[in-house]
Amino acid sequence: MHPDEINQVEKTLSVDLSLKKNGFTLQAKFSAPAKGITAIFGPSGCGKTTLLRAIAGLEKNVTGSSQFGDVDWIHSDIPTHKRNVGYVFQRSHLFSHLDVRKNLLYGVKRTDVNKRRIAFDDAVSLLGVEKLIDKSVDTLSGGERQRVAIARALLSGPELLLLDEPMAALDHQSKSEILPYLEKLHQALSIPMLYVSHATDEIARLADFIVLMENGTTYKHGPLLETVADISSPLAEQANAFSILEGECDTHSEKALLTSVNVDGNSFRIPYTSLDGEGVVRLRIVAKDVSICLDRPLRTSILNVLESTIVDIKDNEEKGQAVVKLTVGRQFLLARISLYSKQQLSLAVGDKVFAQIKAVALVR
């Protein structure tokens, strides 16, 4: 932790709320640090958006509490317009009767001067909307609309920014156009964000903290890296179970078309990418791309083979599979293997093995 931050009282967002709506019940209980990006992750239709709307005060008949700092928004019955949250909707919802500039100014005009967190020109340049400013909103592309919507939300001086799958309605091209802006926000501003998504790549890239949801209920929350590597959670059972490792760029070898990333002393070789000047990078490794060998494979096309220790195993009899949690320095890697292999190799917790990793994705 940075020395300046130690003396600051850590603000948190504590949510413990429930609501019933058209036969659907939402039960959410979690607390998250009021800094960085907290992802709310779960399959489509599990109630993520409803949860976010309830936090913003846009849903009726919400009971429980939603404490941000010293204020309980639900208990004190504070209406949306006094909650000091910014909200970025899946489909922008820009005001159709106003041009881009007036859309951006809408929130500015309604925010006390001393509560503003970012100057108009700074927000405009941070989101790269300078050239759009005098355009009518219906001439904008999906990605442009969303950037305007993010700038509009920032300009209302929010203490908490809520993002509801801001990229779900965009095509691949526009997505890769938005992501860098979201990362810039993360780095440039100290506004905490709740980020709803069902896309693992976005989460792996952006989130610091994660809240897991299913069927209207939050079932787990915690720091991203630990939480996704927890094999007892339903996330590890899913086909796309993954783990995330953080490391630093080691060496480049343009000739060999490889870049090496150092994760707690283990070297990961990935297809050549220029990472000069980048600090910590993240690697996402899908569990089914990791296999286990008892002896070091000597002649293999697989680039990344590391020595590791099994720390946990979870069997899934139904699918005939097992998820194995392995160490990588102080971090963890998940491997999905068949139950048959597990028995053949008689794998057990504490065993020293070799992990063969077929694919590594550099997410940031």
Partner: protein, 224 residues
């Protein structure tokens, strides 16, 4: 050309239409909004009452208004205790009659327009710090401009053509209640066809041009 009496009838009619429409737009705005938003099951009763002038013969409406506004009527007796004498056969009485008579032509387009407002843009406005009233004036109303144009024009044009109600509660007092439709009737009764022509033609043109502007303006904006 139009004689003085006809011109004064025309001006009186325009004044009546302008006043009635203004009152209607102000009164109907919250009413139409409420009708759009309420989940109250009895709202059909109110909607049916507002729509009555569309189907009732204006003389029926005029007859009941005549009774209500008379010194012994429910409205008239209240007014009498307030020191206001009967409104029958006065311009004020005509305004009240017109407001009721033209109400469906203003309330219905507004209600339709409000039902099209984008709830999600209202939500976005709330998250940007706008109170419910602020959202109503800054988002809902500007977005239903065309609804207001339609409501205003229909209310105005319909008041211009009012006859039965005026006949029952207004009578035929020059500069007070003698509106164009009555004047035309008078001219025809007394075989002054040329004056009847001028007035009828003027009314026809005004009404047509107003409706034309409304419909043209709606067509232009639709494709977006």
């Amino acid at each position: 050309m139009l004689d003085d009496a006809s011109i004064s009838a025309l001006l009186l009619t325009l004044k009546l239409a302008f006043l009635s429409t203004s009152i209607l737009l102000v009164v109907s705005t919250p009413f139409a909004w409420w009708l759009t938003k309420t989940k109250w099951k009895g709202k059909g009763i109110l909607e049916a009452m507002v729509a009555l002038p569309l189907v009732l013969p204006p003389t029926v409406l005029g007859f009941y208004l005549l009774l209500a506004l008379g010194p012994n009527g429910p409205l008239g007796s209240v007014l009498t205790t307030l020191g206001i004498s009967s409104l029958n056969f006065t311009f004020a009485g005509l305004v009240i009659g017109s407001v009721i008579y033209s109400m469906p032509f203003v309330v219905q387009p507004l209600q339709h327009a409000f039902s099209q407002t984008d709830k999600r843009q209202m939500d976005a406005a709330a998250t940007l710090g706008a109170s419910p009233l602020d959202r109503f004036f800054s988002i809902a109303i500007p977005q239903v401009k065309r609804g207001y144009l339609t409501a205003g024009v229909l209310g105005f044009a319909h008041t211009l053509g009012e006859f039965g109600v005026v006949l029952m509660i207004g009578g035929n007092i020059p500069d007070e209640t003698r509106v164009v439709s009555i004047a035309i009737y008078d001219h025809v009764e007394s075989m002054e066809y040329s004056q009847a022509h001028y007035l009828s033609g003027t009314l026809l043109c005004i009404s047509f041009v107003m409706l034309l502007i409304t419909y043209m303006s709606q067509q232009k904006v639709k494709p977006s």
